[in-house]
Protein backbone atom coordinates (compact mmCIF):
# COMPACT_ATOMS: atom_id res chain seq x y z
CA UNK A 1 0.00 0.00 0.00
CA UNK A 2 3.02 2.24 0.12
CA UNK A 3 2.44 5.49 -1.68
CA UNK A 4 -1.22 4.95 -2.39
CA UNK A 5 -4.14 7.09 -1.39
CA UNK A 6 -6.66 5.22 0.67
CA UNK A 7 -10.20 5.37 -0.64
CA UNK A 8 -13.27 4.73 1.42
CA UNK A 9 -14.07 5.56 4.98
CA UNK A 10 -11.23 6.56 7.27
CA UNK A 11 -11.89 4.72 10.50
CA UNK A 12 -10.37 5.48 13.88
CA UNK A 13 -7.51 3.13 14.66
CA UNK A 14 -5.84 2.39 17.96
CA UNK A 15 -2.25 3.61 17.75
CA UNK A 16 0.28 2.50 20.35
CA UNK A 17 3.15 4.84 21.06
CA UNK A 18 6.16 2.69 20.21
CA UNK A 19 8.87 5.28 20.74
CA UNK A 20 9.29 8.97 21.46
CA UNK A 21 12.13 11.27 20.54
CA UNK A 22 12.84 14.77 21.79
CA UNK A 23 13.59 16.91 18.76
CA UNK A 24 13.88 20.24 20.56
CA UNK A 25 12.74 21.60 23.91
CA UNK A 26 9.28 22.17 22.46
CA UNK A 27 9.02 19.43 19.85
CA UNK A 28 8.68 15.69 20.10
CA UNK A 29 8.32 12.87 17.60
CA UNK A 30 5.95 10.01 18.41
CA UNK A 31 6.36 6.74 16.59
CA UNK A 32 3.00 5.00 16.34
CA UNK A 33 1.99 1.40 15.70
CA UNK A 34 -1.51 1.33 14.27
CA UNK A 35 -2.95 -1.98 13.10
CA UNK A 36 -4.87 -1.40 9.91
CA UNK A 37 -2.95 1.70 8.84
CA UNK A 38 -3.02 1.55 5.05
CA UNK A 39 0.05 3.58 4.20
CA UNK A 40 0.41 7.21 3.23
CA UNK A 41 2.04 9.63 0.82
CA UNK A 42 4.75 12.10 1.81
CA UNK A 43 3.09 15.37 2.83
CA UNK A 44 -0.20 13.94 4.09
CA UNK A 45 -1.54 14.38 7.60
CA UNK A 46 -3.61 12.42 10.06
CA UNK A 47 -6.12 13.17 12.77
CA UNK A 48 -5.43 12.34 16.42
CA UNK A 49 -8.32 11.86 18.84
CA UNK A 50 -7.89 11.92 22.61
CA UNK A 51 -10.57 10.82 25.05
CA UNK A 52 -10.71 11.81 28.72
CA UNK A 53 -12.05 9.43 31.37
CA UNK A 54 -15.42 11.16 31.36
CA UNK A 55 -15.73 10.70 27.61
CA UNK A 56 -14.73 14.23 26.62
CA UNK A 57 -12.87 14.15 23.30
CA UNK A 58 -10.55 16.43 21.38
CA UNK A 59 -9.25 16.02 17.82
CA UNK A 60 -6.40 17.69 15.98
CA UNK A 61 -4.58 17.21 12.68
CA UNK A 62 -0.82 16.56 12.51
CA UNK A 63 1.48 16.17 9.55
CA UNK A 64 3.00 12.74 9.12
CA UNK A 65 6.75 12.93 9.64
CA UNK A 66 7.78 9.54 8.34
CA UNK A 67 8.27 8.60 4.71
CA UNK A 68 5.94 6.04 3.17
CA UNK A 69 7.10 2.60 4.25
CA UNK A 70 8.77 3.80 7.42
CA UNK A 71 7.21 3.29 10.85
CA UNK A 72 4.38 5.82 11.16
CA UNK A 73 5.48 8.92 13.06
CA UNK A 74 4.17 12.39 13.83
CA UNK A 75 6.16 15.33 15.12
CA UNK A 76 4.32 17.71 17.44
CA UNK A 77 5.25 21.18 18.67
CA UNK A 78 3.96 22.20 22.09
CA UNK A 79 1.71 25.25 21.94
CA UNK A 80 1.61 26.56 25.47
CA UNK A 81 -2.06 27.50 25.33
CA UNK A 82 -2.94 24.37 23.39
CA UNK A 83 -5.21 21.57 24.50
CA UNK A 84 -3.77 18.56 22.69
CA UNK A 85 -0.13 19.39 21.88
CA UNK A 86 1.04 19.77 25.52
CA UNK A 87 -0.37 16.30 26.18
CA UNK A 88 1.39 14.78 23.18
CA UNK A 89 4.70 16.51 23.90
CA UNK A 90 4.85 16.29 27.72
CA UNK A 91 2.53 13.53 28.96
CA UNK A 92 2.40 10.67 26.49
CA UNK A 93 4.89 7.86 27.04
CA UNK A 94 5.77 4.60 25.36
CA UNK A 95 2.93 2.09 25.43
CA UNK A 96 0.17 4.68 25.65
CA UNK A 97 -2.62 4.28 23.12
CA UNK A 98 -4.07 7.13 21.05
CA UNK A 99 -6.57 7.03 18.25
CA UNK A 100 -5.65 8.11 14.74
CA UNK A 101 -7.31 8.20 11.35
CA UNK A 102 -5.95 9.02 7.97
CA UNK A 103 -4.07 9.59 5.83
CA UNK A 104 -5.68 12.86 4.76
CA UNK A 105 -4.96 15.18 1.85
CA UNK A 106 -4.12 14.53 -1.76
CA UNK A 107 -2.66 17.85 -2.90
CA UNK A 108 0.23 18.75 -0.61
CA UNK A 109 2.01 15.51 -1.52
CA UNK A 110 5.17 14.48 -3.31
CA UNK A 111 5.51 10.90 -4.50
CA UNK A 112 9.11 10.92 -5.68
CA UNK A 113 8.55 10.08 -9.33
CA UNK A 114 7.99 13.70 -10.37
CA UNK A 115 10.76 14.99 -12.60
CA UNK A 116 10.86 18.64 -11.60
CA UNK A 117 13.28 20.11 -9.11
CA UNK A 118 11.69 20.44 -5.70
CA UNK A 119 11.92 23.52 -3.52
CA UNK A 120 10.81 23.02 0.08
CA UNK A 121 10.28 26.10 2.24
CA UNK A 122 9.73 25.48 5.94
CA UNK A 123 8.93 27.80 8.79
CA UNK A 124 9.43 26.23 12.23
CA UNK A 125 7.52 22.99 12.64
CA UNK A 126 6.31 23.42 9.07
CA UNK A 127 9.35 21.32 8.27
CA UNK A 128 7.54 18.14 9.32
CA UNK A 129 5.70 17.21 6.08
CA UNK A 130 8.64 18.52 4.05
CA UNK A 131 11.04 16.25 5.92
CA UNK A 132 8.76 13.35 4.97
CA UNK A 133 9.36 14.33 1.34
CA UNK A 134 13.13 14.51 1.87
CA UNK A 135 13.04 11.10 3.53
CA UNK A 136 10.98 9.76 0.66
CA UNK A 137 13.56 11.03 -1.81
CA UNK A 138 16.40 9.42 0.12
CA UNK A 139 14.60 6.09 0.42
CA UNK A 140 13.81 5.99 -3.29
CA UNK A 141 17.20 7.24 -4.35
CA UNK A 142 15.26 9.76 -6.44
CA UNK A 143 17.43 12.08 -8.47
CA UNK A 144 15.17 15.13 -8.72
CA UNK A 145 17.14 18.02 -7.19
CA UNK A 146 15.64 18.95 -3.82
CA UNK A 147 16.48 22.06 -1.84
CA UNK A 148 15.10 22.89 1.60
CA UNK A 149 15.01 26.46 2.84
CA UNK A 150 14.33 26.22 6.55
CA UNK A 151 13.60 29.19 8.79
CA UNK A 152 13.88 28.71 12.56
CA UNK A 153 14.15 31.08 15.48
CA UNK A 154 17.41 29.69 16.81
CA UNK A 155 19.75 26.77 16.13
CA UNK A 156 18.24 24.93 19.07
CA UNK A 157 14.81 25.21 17.48
CA UNK A 158 15.88 23.36 14.32
CA UNK A 159 13.94 20.11 14.13
CA UNK A 160 15.65 16.99 12.68
CA UNK A 161 18.93 18.92 12.69
CA UNK A 162 21.19 15.89 12.62
CA UNK A 163 19.10 14.04 10.11
CA UNK A 164 18.33 16.60 7.41
CA UNK A 165 21.77 16.93 5.84
CA UNK A 166 22.28 13.18 5.89
CA UNK A 167 19.24 12.82 3.66
CA UNK A 168 21.12 14.20 0.70
CA UNK A 169 18.92 17.20 0.03
CA UNK A 170 20.50 20.64 0.07
CA UNK A 171 19.53 22.45 3.26
CA UNK A 172 19.78 26.22 3.65
CA UNK A 173 19.04 27.56 7.11
CA UNK A 174 18.01 30.99 8.25
CA UNK A 175 17.91 31.74 11.98
CA UNK A 176 15.67 34.70 12.65
CA UNK A 177 16.08 35.37 16.37
CA UNK A 178 19.56 34.35 17.49
CA UNK A 179 22.55 32.73 15.86
CA UNK A 180 25.36 30.62 17.34
CA UNK A 181 28.87 32.06 17.40
CA UNK A 182 30.50 31.90 14.02
CA UNK A 183 27.18 31.46 12.19
CA UNK A 184 27.65 31.99 8.47
CA UNK A 185 24.12 31.21 7.30
CA UNK A 186 21.22 33.59 6.90
CA UNK A 187 19.98 35.40 9.97
CA UNK A 188 16.78 37.12 8.96
CA UNK A 189 13.20 36.41 8.04
CA UNK A 190 12.60 35.22 4.50
CA UNK A 191 12.48 38.13 2.07
CA UNK A 192 12.67 38.53 -1.69
CA UNK A 193 16.47 38.87 -1.79
CA UNK A 194 16.93 35.74 0.27
CA UNK A 195 14.51 33.82 -1.95
CA UNK A 196 16.30 35.06 -5.07
CA UNK A 197 19.58 33.69 -3.73
CA UNK A 198 18.25 30.34 -2.55
CA UNK A 199 15.36 29.37 -4.80
CA UNK A 200 15.81 27.63 -8.14
CA UNK A 201 15.47 30.14 -10.97
CA UNK A 202 11.94 30.44 -12.29
CA UNK A 203 12.88 29.01 -15.67
CA UNK A 204 13.62 25.71 -13.93
CA UNK A 205 9.84 25.49 -13.29
CA UNK A 206 10.26 23.74 -9.92
CA UNK A 207 7.58 22.18 -7.74
CA UNK A 208 7.30 24.12 -4.51
CA UNK A 209 5.97 23.13 -1.11
CA UNK A 210 5.69 25.82 1.55
CA UNK A 211 4.61 24.99 5.11
CA UNK A 212 4.53 27.17 8.20
CA UNK A 213 2.47 29.83 9.89
CA UNK A 214 0.11 31.89 7.77
CA UNK A 215 2.42 34.92 7.87
CA UNK A 216 5.43 32.83 6.90
CA UNK A 217 3.65 31.07 4.07
CA UNK A 218 2.30 34.31 2.65
CA UNK A 219 5.75 35.92 2.73
CA UNK A 220 7.39 32.96 1.01
CA UNK A 221 4.66 32.30 -1.56
CA UNK A 222 4.19 35.98 -2.46
CA UNK A 223 7.95 36.40 -2.78
CA UNK A 224 8.27 33.40 -5.09
CA UNK A 225 5.47 34.75 -7.27
CA UNK A 226 7.39 38.04 -7.49
CA UNK A 227 10.44 36.03 -8.62
CA UNK A 228 8.41 34.82 -11.55
CA UNK A 229 7.12 31.54 -10.17
CA UNK A 230 3.71 30.52 -11.50
CA UNK A 231 1.29 30.35 -8.53
CA UNK A 232 0.20 26.95 -9.80
CA UNK A 233 3.65 25.51 -8.95
CA UNK A 234 3.35 26.53 -5.31
CA UNK A 235 1.54 24.28 -2.87
CA UNK A 236 1.00 25.66 0.60
CA UNK A 237 0.02 24.32 3.96
CA UNK A 238 -0.59 26.80 6.75
CA UNK A 239 -1.12 26.18 10.39
CA UNK A 240 -3.11 28.59 12.46
CA UNK A 241 -4.65 27.92 15.82
CA UNK A 242 -4.20 24.18 16.16
CA UNK A 243 -3.62 23.63 19.84
Amino acid sequence: MEGTAVLGRLTWLAATVAATREETQRVRTLELEADGWGGHRAGQHLDVRLTAEDGYQAQRSYSIASAPGEPLAITVERLDDGEVSPYLVDVVRDGDVLEVRGPIGGYFVWDGDEEESVLLVAGGSGVVPLAAMARRRARLGATAPMRLLYSSRTWDDVIYRDELEALGAEVVYTLTRAQPAGWTGYSRRIDDDLLREVAFPADARPRVYVCGSTRFVDAAADGLVRLGYDPAWIRTERFGATG
Binding site: A5, L7, G8, R9, L10, T11, W12, A14, R49, L50, T51, A52, E53, G55, Y56, Q57, A58, Q59, R60, S61, E83, Y87, V91, D96, V97, L98, E99, I104, G105, G106, Y107, F108, T214, D218, A221, D222, L224, V225, P231, A232, I234, R235, T236, R238, F239, G240, A241, T242, G243
Partner: protein, 201 residues
Protein backbone atom coordinates in the same frame (compact mmCIF):
# COMPACT_ATOMS: atom_id res chain seq x y z
CA UNK B 1 -15.24 1.09 18.23
CA UNK B 2 -15.37 2.12 21.85
CA UNK B 3 -13.17 5.15 22.32
CA UNK B 4 -9.86 4.46 23.99
CA UNK B 5 -9.23 6.48 27.13
CA UNK B 6 -6.07 8.53 26.80
CA UNK B 7 -4.15 8.08 30.05
CA UNK B 8 -3.85 11.37 31.87
CA UNK B 9 -5.74 13.42 29.29
CA UNK B 10 -8.20 15.82 30.82
CA UNK B 11 -8.65 18.31 28.05
CA UNK B 12 -10.08 21.74 28.20
CA UNK B 13 -13.82 21.78 28.35
CA UNK B 14 -15.63 23.80 25.72
CA UNK B 15 -16.98 26.99 27.13
CA UNK B 16 -19.24 27.41 24.14
CA UNK B 17 -22.88 26.39 23.90
CA UNK B 18 -22.98 22.72 22.87
CA UNK B 19 -25.74 23.32 20.35
CA UNK B 20 -23.39 25.63 18.45
CA UNK B 21 -20.18 23.61 18.46
CA UNK B 22 -20.36 20.54 16.19
CA UNK B 23 -18.72 17.24 17.20
CA UNK B 24 -14.94 17.18 17.03
CA UNK B 25 -14.64 20.98 16.86
CA UNK B 26 -13.05 23.43 19.30
CA UNK B 27 -13.62 27.15 19.62
CA UNK B 28 -11.07 29.73 18.60
CA UNK B 29 -11.04 33.50 18.77
CA UNK B 30 -8.44 33.66 16.01
CA UNK B 31 -9.25 33.45 12.35
CA UNK B 32 -6.90 30.77 11.01
CA UNK B 33 -6.20 30.56 7.30
CA UNK B 34 -6.37 27.45 5.14
CA UNK B 35 -5.54 27.57 1.47
CA UNK B 36 -3.69 25.45 -1.04
CA UNK B 37 -1.56 28.06 -2.76
CA UNK B 38 -0.44 31.67 -2.83
CA UNK B 39 -2.99 34.36 -2.07
CA UNK B 40 -4.28 35.84 -5.35
CA UNK B 41 -4.56 39.60 -5.70
CA UNK B 42 -7.15 40.59 -8.29
CA UNK B 43 -7.73 44.25 -9.07
CA UNK B 44 -11.29 45.31 -8.43
CA UNK B 45 -11.49 46.86 -11.91
CA UNK B 46 -10.87 43.39 -13.34
CA UNK B 47 -13.04 41.52 -10.88
CA UNK B 48 -16.29 39.95 -12.05
CA UNK B 49 -18.73 37.41 -10.67
CA UNK B 50 -20.24 35.10 -13.27
CA UNK B 51 -22.96 32.50 -13.09
CA UNK B 52 -22.99 30.19 -16.11
CA UNK B 53 -23.51 26.57 -17.07
CA UNK B 54 -24.38 24.36 -20.01
CA UNK B 55 -27.51 25.76 -21.65
CA UNK B 56 -27.59 28.65 -19.17
CA UNK B 57 -27.52 32.23 -20.38
CA UNK B 58 -24.55 33.57 -18.38
CA UNK B 59 -24.99 36.53 -16.07
CA UNK B 60 -22.00 38.60 -15.00
CA UNK B 61 -21.58 41.35 -12.44
CA UNK B 62 -18.68 43.75 -12.17
CA UNK B 63 -17.46 44.78 -8.72
CA UNK B 64 -19.46 48.00 -8.87
CA UNK B 65 -22.55 46.17 -10.05
CA UNK B 66 -22.26 43.70 -7.19
CA UNK B 67 -21.90 46.56 -4.71
CA UNK B 68 -25.07 48.12 -6.08
CA UNK B 69 -27.15 45.04 -5.26
CA UNK B 70 -29.05 44.85 -1.97
CA UNK B 71 -26.67 43.83 0.81
CA UNK B 72 -27.34 41.76 3.89
CA UNK B 73 -25.53 41.76 7.21
CA UNK B 74 -25.32 38.31 8.74
CA UNK B 75 -23.78 37.01 11.96
CA UNK B 76 -23.05 33.30 11.75
CA UNK B 77 -20.94 30.54 13.28
CA UNK B 78 -18.29 28.99 11.03
CA UNK B 79 -16.73 25.55 11.25
CA UNK B 80 -13.44 24.56 9.59
CA UNK B 81 -12.69 20.93 8.79
CA UNK B 82 -9.30 21.43 10.49
CA UNK B 83 -11.34 21.42 13.74
CA UNK B 84 -11.72 25.06 14.71
CA UNK B 85 -15.06 26.79 15.01
CA UNK B 86 -15.63 30.49 15.43
CA UNK B 87 -18.88 31.88 16.76
CA UNK B 88 -20.68 35.10 15.85
CA UNK B 89 -18.67 36.09 12.80
CA UNK B 90 -20.13 39.22 11.19
CA UNK B 91 -20.26 39.46 7.41
CA UNK B 92 -21.77 41.69 4.79
CA UNK B 93 -22.52 40.69 1.24
CA UNK B 94 -25.09 39.80 -1.36
CA UNK B 95 -27.42 36.87 -0.89
CA UNK B 96 -27.06 34.05 -3.43
CA UNK B 97 -30.86 34.21 -3.65
CA UNK B 98 -30.42 37.62 -5.28
CA UNK B 99 -27.70 36.44 -7.64
CA UNK B 100 -29.26 33.12 -8.62
CA UNK B 101 -32.62 34.87 -8.94
CA UNK B 102 -31.17 36.78 -11.89
CA UNK B 103 -30.34 33.55 -13.74
CA UNK B 104 -32.83 31.42 -15.67
CA UNK B 105 -31.91 27.79 -14.94
CA UNK B 106 -33.18 24.44 -13.67
CA UNK B 107 -29.88 23.02 -12.36
CA UNK B 108 -29.51 21.22 -9.03
CA UNK B 109 -25.77 21.61 -8.46
CA UNK B 110 -23.17 24.32 -8.56
CA UNK B 111 -19.39 24.35 -8.77
CA UNK B 112 -17.99 27.56 -7.34
CA UNK B 113 -14.78 28.72 -9.00
CA UNK B 114 -12.21 31.11 -7.67
CA UNK B 115 -8.96 32.88 -8.47
CA UNK B 116 -6.05 30.49 -8.07
CA UNK B 117 -7.98 27.68 -9.74
CA UNK B 118 -9.81 26.58 -6.61
CA UNK B 119 -13.25 25.03 -6.99
CA UNK B 120 -15.83 23.59 -4.58
CA UNK B 121 -19.18 21.94 -5.20
CA UNK B 122 -22.42 22.85 -3.42
CA UNK B 123 -25.99 21.79 -4.20
CA UNK B 124 -28.11 24.72 -5.37
CA UNK B 125 -30.58 24.12 -2.55
CA UNK B 126 -27.75 24.84 -0.10
CA UNK B 127 -27.07 28.16 -1.81
CA UNK B 128 -30.69 29.38 -1.76
CA UNK B 129 -33.26 30.05 0.93
CA UNK B 130 -31.14 32.58 2.84
CA UNK B 131 -28.27 30.14 3.45
CA UNK B 132 -25.44 31.57 1.34
CA UNK B 133 -23.84 34.86 0.33
CA UNK B 134 -21.06 36.41 -1.68
CA UNK B 135 -19.43 38.22 1.22
CA UNK B 136 -17.06 41.16 0.82
CA UNK B 137 -16.96 42.69 4.28
CA UNK B 138 -15.93 41.01 7.53
CA UNK B 139 -16.19 42.59 10.97
CA UNK B 140 -17.16 45.90 9.39
CA UNK B 141 -14.03 46.07 7.19
CA UNK B 142 -13.31 45.09 3.60
CA UNK B 143 -12.51 41.37 3.49
CA UNK B 144 -8.74 40.88 3.60
CA UNK B 145 -7.08 38.89 0.81
CA UNK B 146 -5.82 36.17 3.16
CA UNK B 147 -9.41 35.52 4.22
CA UNK B 148 -10.68 35.45 0.66
CA UNK B 149 -11.03 39.11 -0.28
CA UNK B 150 -12.13 40.90 -2.26
CA UNK B 151 -15.08 38.50 -2.01
CA UNK B 152 -15.68 34.95 -0.89
CA UNK B 153 -18.55 32.56 -0.85
CA UNK B 154 -20.15 32.24 2.58
CA UNK B 155 -22.03 28.96 3.18
CA UNK B 156 -21.79 28.73 6.96
CA UNK B 157 -23.93 25.61 7.46
CA UNK B 158 -21.28 23.54 5.67
CA UNK B 159 -17.59 23.11 6.56
CA UNK B 160 -15.81 26.31 5.75
CA UNK B 161 -13.81 24.99 2.76
CA UNK B 162 -17.15 25.22 0.91
CA UNK B 163 -17.04 28.99 1.47
CA UNK B 164 -14.64 29.45 -1.44
CA UNK B 165 -12.19 32.31 -1.03
CA UNK B 166 -11.53 34.67 -3.94
CA UNK B 167 -14.75 33.44 -5.53
CA UNK B 168 -15.39 34.54 -9.11
CA UNK B 169 -18.53 32.67 -10.00
CA UNK B 170 -20.70 29.59 -10.09
CA UNK B 171 -20.95 26.97 -12.81
CA UNK B 172 -24.41 25.41 -12.69
CA UNK B 173 -24.51 21.66 -13.29
CA UNK B 174 -27.04 18.84 -13.72
CA UNK B 175 -24.88 16.41 -11.75
CA UNK B 176 -22.76 16.94 -8.66
CA UNK B 177 -19.08 17.27 -9.54
CA UNK B 178 -16.33 17.18 -6.89
CA UNK B 179 -14.33 20.38 -6.49
CA UNK B 180 -10.71 20.81 -5.45
CA UNK B 181 -10.68 19.56 -1.87
CA UNK B 182 -13.44 17.10 -2.67
CA UNK B 183 -11.12 15.44 -5.21
CA UNK B 184 -8.39 15.40 -2.59
CA UNK B 185 -10.03 13.36 0.13
CA UNK B 186 -12.61 15.71 1.57
CA UNK B 187 -16.31 14.96 1.77
CA UNK B 188 -18.58 15.73 -1.17
CA UNK B 189 -21.16 17.56 0.98
CA UNK B 190 -19.47 18.52 4.28
CA UNK B 191 -22.14 18.81 6.98
CA UNK B 192 -20.26 19.66 10.22
CA UNK B 193 -23.10 18.37 12.40
CA UNK B 194 -22.70 14.92 10.78
CA UNK B 195 -18.91 15.26 10.88
CA UNK B 196 -18.66 14.75 7.13
CA UNK B 197 -14.97 15.61 6.93
CA UNK B 198 -13.50 13.04 4.58
CA UNK B 199 -14.48 10.58 1.90
CA UNK B 200 -16.83 7.97 3.34
CA UNK B 201 -17.75 9.95 6.49
Amino acid sequence: MTPIISRGFRGRRQDGPPDRVPPGQYLTDDFPVLSAGPTPHTELEEWTFTIDGSGVEPVRWTWDELQALPTEEVTVDIHCVTKWSKLDTAWEGVSLDTLLGAVDHDKDYALAFADGGYTTNVPVEDLTGGKAWVAYRYGGEPLEPEHGGPARLLVPHLYFWKSAKWVRGLRLLDEDEPGFWEQNGYHLYGDPWKEQRYWGD
